[in-house]
């Protein structure tokens, strides 16, 4: 299964992801309607995109009193049935990542649907901060990358470098 992976170190803070998200879903350019959000410390040069983590035990789903939040097993994305959503925002506050957003016009919840398995934000991200990859493959690559660092860290620790 593929998922959206964020590498914040690469983010340039351009907000294309937010704006194209709103264009794709609502035909309007409005970052406030984006289902991804970039938190910016512009004077530090630090930018962190925040998006649904598609948790194995999703707090948003557990707390929803109307069962409006559910998993779309075709994409593994968490979906929101806006007809059932009553706008109580329980999921917004339950999310440990702050990755559930609210549509200011309707008062209802905005959740990343991974564009049905072909995320627009990934296509427009200029720096590769957002990628859409196989979870197991990426996890393995991450493992190898970390393992690679160990010999040199050991040498450093024993003062050979």
């Amino acid at each position: 299964m593929k998922t959206l992976i964020i590498d914040a170190e690469k983010c340039s803070g351009c907000r294309s992801c937010e704006t194209y998200c709103s264009l794709k879903h609502y035909g309007v350019c409005a970052p406030s309607k984006g289902r991804i959000h970039v938190v910016k410390w512009e004077q530090e040069g630090t930018f962190v995109p925040i998006n649904c983590m598609r948790c194995e035990e999703p707090a948003c789903e557990i707390v929803c009193p109307k069962h409006a939040t559910y998993r779309n097993y075709a994409t593994n994305a968490m979906a929101v049935d806006t007809k059932s959503c009553i706008g109580c925002l329980s999921c917004v506050f339950a999310c440990p990542f702050g990755a559930t957003f609210v549509d200011g016009d309707t008062g209802k919840v905005l959740k990343c649907d991974l564009c049905d398995g072909d995320p627009t934000c990934v296509k427009v991200c200029p720096t590769g901060a957002l990628t859409f990859e196989e979870v197991s493959k990426e996890a393995h690559l991450k493992l190898l990358a970390n393992a690679n660092r160990i010999p040199s860290l050991v040498k450093k620790a024993i003062g050979e470098e």
């Binding site: 351009c14 294309s16 264009l23 794709k24 350019c29 409005a30 406030s32 512009e42 004077q43 627009t120």
Partner: protein, 631 residues
């Protein structure tokens, strides 16, 4: 409405009155951004009003494409009457403020009047609040932004502000947003300071409606892919302009010192900009929704963090005979934090260095600091003294001419300005279209124009660019630096091209200079967003209307043909070395270029004033009646 959000906001700081009017009646003729901004200042400025009088309107103009998802949609055009020239000012800044202002509900913001005490303006979702800025007064631009975000309890508020230079009415003070995006030229910070206005904070939850969203998304995916593969994108997004500096000096396109000469071997061979980037660049950043990251975000331990782009890379190096990149970075951060135009600041320092070099001034004239070429103390102290209006800095804050005048008549003779501004730091002796564009330009520094950069591109592949010139600008000679022929038409076409992105609220680097070399892509996006079906020629015709409108504003301010000139140095002092050794502007041929320029424009050759016939053709009869009939 699609594209435009529909409202022009008017704030009178004297009375506190806030009003709005619809954008729609103007858009067919002026579009938005720079184009509509010039109409607004024409209507809102009463002739004879001093630039520092409360009546001088300060106007922020977003365009119909500002804040849309297309690459490079973060631009804002700023105008007022300039305290440097008393002509129409024009500045333009990027980053993230413009889109936010549109999301808050406004296409244009007109600020008039003067607050009794320091204030800042807070605009959010259609509401306007004038807030106390007593604590902010005296703070630099970085601190100011953070304090306002804290005051409003929202770190995502976008702020454009002035620094101490603007508060003290340094005539070339600028506006700053984030760490280095500036409305740099023509003294907009001083106008803002004269209104006791420290900053404008914006935040909006609205959006920009798109008429053809699917088409726009499809186009963008193609454009982004195209850009990624473009060599200019690859270079700018990794290095900014740092790696092109040595080449520009080698081409003799960038002047060294105060337009003293070119081809300084030390800078051609030992320019350390790229090494500095490799060592200290945290990442490259860009404006709103722009994949092209042309700003270098540098983090130099002990000196500070922030972004820089284009001009400081040459202004604070070759412009002041400096090779020490730490000094370049300190000067850049200082001007950004204090809020002053780096171009005019480096030129002012350059002037002092030349006066000192020629023995016209001594250290006594500059508070004991010897203005030796490249002297670190000379560079950094001068910047601080200008912002603090201390000693000789107080004179420079009033402008290069005022400072020179106080030294001697000989010093005044040395000042190189065009229409009250330091000209763009290009070498006009060897590059004739660049020279013409500069001389006739709307503010004394209209560059970079495509016709100017074409003369640089030409060195890479002469025959190829001569063909490009023939197709786009009417003659092969238009691309050849040393040729006078074909330049007037090339400058006119370029002037119309640059006004398209400026009026749409998008980046002219992308849509007209580096990525797309014409305005077709900008036109495509304009139609996707607004739902109109304008062709390129209609957009260019609008640009011609805007150009004539700008000219008529300045004619009303007293501008005539004689003001369309360059410092005499460029006609009298040939280049002593480099690949254009011996090059100098021929006065007669230069004036002939101007003749041709005015004729092609439909302007009177003797006075440089647009003719009634041309103005009426462009639908500017009201302007002709008011201005021409009152000359």
């Amino acid at each position: 409405m699609y594209g435009w959000v529909g409202k022009i906001l008017k704030i009178d700081l004297s009375s506190g009155q806030v009003t709005t009017e619809p954008t729609e009646p103007y858009i067919e003729e002026y579009i938005g951004g720079r184009g509509l901004g010039v109409r607004l200042i024409y209507e809102n400025y009463v002739p004879g009003t001093d630039p520092f009088d409360p009546g001088n309107p300060l106007i922020f103009s977003m365009g119909p494409l500002t804040g849309t998802a297309m690459p490079g949609s973060g631009r804002v055009d700023v105008t007022a009457v300039s305290p440097m020239s008393k002509l129409r000012a024009k500045s333009n800044f990027g980053a993230y403020w413009g889109p936010e202002a549109k999301y808050a509900g406004f296409d244009h913001i007109i600020i008039t009047g003067k607050a009794e005490k320091p204030v800042y303006i807070w605009i959010t979702d259609g509401r306007v609040e004038i807030r106390d800025a007593a604590d902010l007064w005296g703070k630099d631009t970085f601190e100011t932004q953070k304090m306002i975000q804290k005051d409003l309890g929202d770190p995502e508020v976008k702020v454009v502000c002035i620094g101490p230079a603007g508060e003290r009415l340094v005539r070339f003070a600028c506006l700053i947003t984030e760490t280095g995006d500036a409305a740099g030229r023509t003294g907009m910070g001083a106008v803002m300071g004269s209104k006791n206005l420290k900053a404008i904070a914006v935040r909006g939850s609205g959006g920009v409606k798109v008429a053809r969203p699917e088409q726009m998304l499809k186009r963008s995916l193609e454009v982004i892919q195209f850009m990624r593969e473009h060599p200019a994108y690859q270079e700018l997004s990794n290095w900014g302009v740092a790696r092109s500096m040595s080449m520009m000096y080698d081409f003799s396109f960038f002047p060294v010192g105060y337009f003293e000469d070119v081809a300084w071997e030390d800078i051609i061979n030992n320019y350390k900009g790229p090494e500095y980037v490799e060592k200290f660049q945290l990442k490259n950043t860009g404006c709103f929704c722009c994949p092209n990251r042309c700003m270098n975000f540098l983090d130099v331990p002990g000196l500070g963090r922030g972004v820089t782009s284009c001009e400081p890379w040459s202004g604070f190096t070759g412009g002041v005979w400096n090779l020490d990149m730490d000094v370049f970075w300190q000067a850049t951060l200082l001007t950004n934090r204090l809020g002053m135009d780096c171009t005019e600041a480096s030129a002012s320092i350059g002037l002092l260095m030349e006066l000192y070099h020629d023995g016209i001034i001594t250290a006594k004239d500059t508070d004991g600091i010897p203005m030796e070429r490249g002297n670190k103390e000379a560079i950094l102290s001068t910047i601080l003294k200008i912002a603090n209006r201390e000693g000789y800095g107080d004179l420079l804050a009033e402008g290069q001419k005022t400072a020179a005048q106080s030294f001697s008549r000989e010093a005044l003779e040395k000042v190189d300005q065009v229409k009250g501004l330091a000209p763009h730091a290009y070498e006009f002796r060897a590059f004739k279209a660049s020279g013409l564009g500069q001389a006739v330009g709307h503010r004394g520094d209209p560059l970079p124009l495509r016709s100017s950069l074409l003369e640089v591109d030409w060195h890479h592949a002469p025959e190829w660019f001569q063909q490009v010139a023939k197709e786009q600008f009417g003659s092969e000679e238009a691309a050849i630096p040393s040729e006078y022929k074909g330049k007037p038409l090339a400058v006119i076409i370029s002037e119309h091209m640059e006004r398209v992105p400026d009026s749409l609220g998008i980046c002219r680097w992308l849509y007209g200079l580096f990525i797309f070399n014409d305005v077709e892509m900008a036109a495509n996006y304009f139609n996707d967003v607004t739902g109109k079906d304008w062709d390129v020629s209609r957009l260019l015709k609008t640009s011609e209307r805007v150009r004539n409108m700008e000219r008529m504003f300045d004619v009303r301010q007293g501008l005539r043909r004689g003001d369309d000139s360059l410092p005499k140095k460029f006609f009298e002092q040939p280049l002593s070395k480099g690949r254009y050794k011996g090059a100098v502007l021929d006065k007669e041929k230069f004036e002939q270029m101007k003749d041709e320029y005015y004729q092609l424009r439909g302007w009177d050759k003797e006075t440089g004033i647009p003719t009634r016939e041309k103005l009426e053709e462009l639908g500017l009869k009201d302007v002709a009646d008011e201005v021409l009939d009152n000359l």
